[in-house]
């Protein structure tokens, strides 16, 4: 695992971009293609893929890049979704979110609700990270999983917000100047969000901070010997990743106009890890590729039979056992 590089540092960064240009062109054309095929449903699938790509990329920041195997990332995605939905619920039911010590009203304004949601996810990631990062290895895996389950059960216990069944939102958030209810507009918003986040990850990986994080993954003892205390760097990395996951959650709630505890279940966390593993751990384009592959395969098998997990589970196992570097390995991001 430690042999797989995150972004290679140094001049020849061409392979990452070699595939990026035609890919972005295709992605830009997706709404037109769906329109031409008369299949607006496909645009919804495409938006879903992009949002999962964002969620998986955020997990890849801690998992592939930082070497911290977190098994509870869906919780941070779900918190983002829930904050958006809960704020919208309070607006439509005309009940303030908080009356003491200050009055907070519900809102569907994206300019307020989205930062609040991302902030909540970042805060949750900070707290979970602060406790979990005191441990390493197996303990870290188990603790992130346990905290995610805690947040899951908490969401289930929220009877006011639908409990186990989740809740429907009346509509998408309102963003001044953009009509988010329009599916094409929403798709482009998601696409821009994903590309910006990938660009951010690209820069982060090459920054001093990125070097330190990579160094900690490769050899923690050596980083300590260099006078760098890993904990604050890892916690920062974990918090950034949580915030980005929260953003994915915001978009997910807006796409479906529905949230439920299954958005932050253990199975969802496992799915995100599976996407990364399918795509290629620690590579920039791996998680988005893995997300696309995962969702399309699920959809394709689901069309064939209702018992698709009987085929999908074993297929996942075979890919993981035999295609050791993921899809990116096939698409030519070469390993040094």
């Amino acid at each position: 695992m430690s042999k797989i590089p995150f972004l290679r540092i140094g001049p020849p960064a061409i392979p990452a971009f070699f595939w990026a240009v035609p890919l972005v062109v295709v992605l830009l054309a997706v709404p037109f293609i769906c329109e031409a095929l008369g299949q607006p449903f496909y645009l919804r699938v495409a938006s879903r893929i992009l949002i999962f790509a964002l969620a998986a990329s955020s997990l890849n920041l801690v998992l592939g890049f930082g070497g911290m195997v977190s098994l509870g990332h869906a919780a941070f995605v779900g918190i983002g979704s829930y904050v958006v939905a809960v704020l919208a619920w309070h607006l439509s039911n005309e009940v303030p979110v908080l009356t003491w010590p200050i009055v907070i009203e519900g809102t569907t304004n994206a300019a307020l609700a989205w930062p609040a949601a991302i902030g909540a996810s970042a805060l949750a990631a900070f707290v979970v990270g602060a406790i979990s990062l005191r441990t390493t290895g197996l303990y870290f895996i188990m603790i992130t999983l346990a905290f995610a389950q805690m947040i899951y059960y908490y969401a289930v216990s929220l009877q006011q917000y639908g409990g186990d069944d989740g809740m429907k939102m009346r509509g998408r958030s309102v963003l001044p100047g953009l009509d988010l209810a329009n599916r094409t507009t929403f798709y482009y918003l998601v696409l821009v969000a994903l590309l910006l986040c990938i660009a951010f990850l690209f820069c982060l990986a090459r920054s001093r901070f990125g070097l330190v994080i990579r160094g900690i993954r490769q050899n923690e003892t050596r980083m300590r010997a260099l006078g760098i205390e890993p904990y604050p760097y890892q916690l920062t990395c974990f918090t950034i990743s949580g915030a980005m996951a929260g953003f994915a959650g915001v978009l997910m709630a807006n796409l479906d106009t529905f949230v439920s505890p299954s958005d932050l279940s253990m199975a969802r966390s496992d799915e995100l890890v599976a996407m990364i593993l399918l795509g290629g751990v620690g590579s920039l384009w791996g998680p988005p590729l893995g997300a696309a592959f995962y969702i399309l395969a699920q959809l394709g098998l689901g069309n064939l039979t209702t018992h698709w997990p009987l085929a999908f589970g074993p297929a996942l196992i075979i890919v993981v056992l035999f295609a050791r570097r993921g899809l990116v390995g096939i698409f030519g991001e070469r390993q040094r």
Partner: protein
């Protein structure tokens, strides 16, 4: 008040021993083979379903229990040879996803074979009565029987691991796999046996839980997470730690649900885990593995 407290403490103890039956197999697999197996909860579920079928067909609870333990042990051994054996040298990530794929497959297989609706396993007739523990407190003997079985199994397991030749080989395999195989021990079969044993214990736990909770798809998930918490609190790889922590988790979860408001109740166990880890990052009884 005392009656309620005693009743809930016993319920907690019963949940605790159920968790221990899962946690003991899991902690050995985790601590000795370094394998993250999320499919352990599915073995618990599969065991409960097999027992349900045998019990309905034959009318005998103990036959169901034995059949479930044997069949699930076999399934465990096959899974180990087919999948997990290839993963000992690989990272945790691959182990997580392979076991996730196995969970998907087993859940769906159960749905195909037994249908999507929860089943209610019948209570064994011998224990279908209650005993008056305190004036006004009737307590089902079935739950007391679960506690007794759990205690006996945990003592036997402890003796097996710490005081027998097989237990010694398992522990030696944890320290140095290649050395123990150079000494002529078939470590491959030994690991398969440990895995199968863990699967059998999970099936016993699932079978005994059947008459109390319903037998349904996904029934293994919450107990899996709770037993993982017990393992983390107790110290990965430590049977003694798993036993004590499983009872602590079972009791605090049950008592919390009765006396704390909903929302807070669900998270007591996790707060407890966090508190333990802040003080002792390697659990209460760190094993030397």
């Amino acid at each position: 008040m005392i009656a309620v407290l005693l009743e809930q403490a016993l319920n907690g103890l019963q949940l605790g021993v159920t968790l221990f039956l899962l946690a003991s197999g899991l902690t050995l697999v985790l601590g000795i083979m370094r394998l993250v197996n999320l499919a352990h909860g599915s073995l618990y579920m599969v065991g409960a379903y097999i027992a349900f079928t045998i019990q309905s067909a034959s009318g005998s609870f103990s036959l169901g229990l034995l059949a479930a333990a044997a069949a699930t042990a076999l399934i465990g051994a096959v899974l180990e040879r087919l999948l997990f054996e290839r993963l000992y040298q690989r990272g945790y990530l691959e182990q997580v996803i392979v076991s996730f794929g196995a969970v998907m497959f087993l859940d769906e297989l159960v749905r195909v074979l037994w249908g999507p609706l929860p089943l209610k396993a019948p209570m064994p007739e011998v224990f279908d009565w209650s005993v008056e523990l305190l004036p006004g407190l009737l307590y089902p003997t079935y739950r007391l029987a679960i506690i007794a079985v759990g205690m006996v199994v945990s003592i036997l397991l402890y003796l097996l691991v710490t005081h027998t030749r097989i237990g010694m080989m398992v522990r030696a395999g944890a320290s140095d796999r290649s050395m123990i195989s150079a000494l002529g021990v078939n470590i491959r079969d030994l690991y398969t046996a440990v895995f199968a044993g863990g699967a059998a214990l999970a099936a016993i736990a699932g079978t005994m839980a059947g008459p109390i909770y319903s037998v349904q798809i996904g029934m293994g998930e919450s107990v899996l997470v709770q037993s993982l918490i017990a393992i983390v609190i107790g110290g990965i790889g430590s049977i003694r730690g798993a036993a004590i922590a499983a009872v602590l988790v079972g009791v605090s979860d049950t008592i919390g649900r009765v006396f704390l408001p909903p929302g807070i109740a669900q998270i007591t166990v996790y707060v407890f885990m966090a508190a333990v880890l802040v003080c002792r990052p390697r659990g209460l009884f760190p094993a030397h593995v």
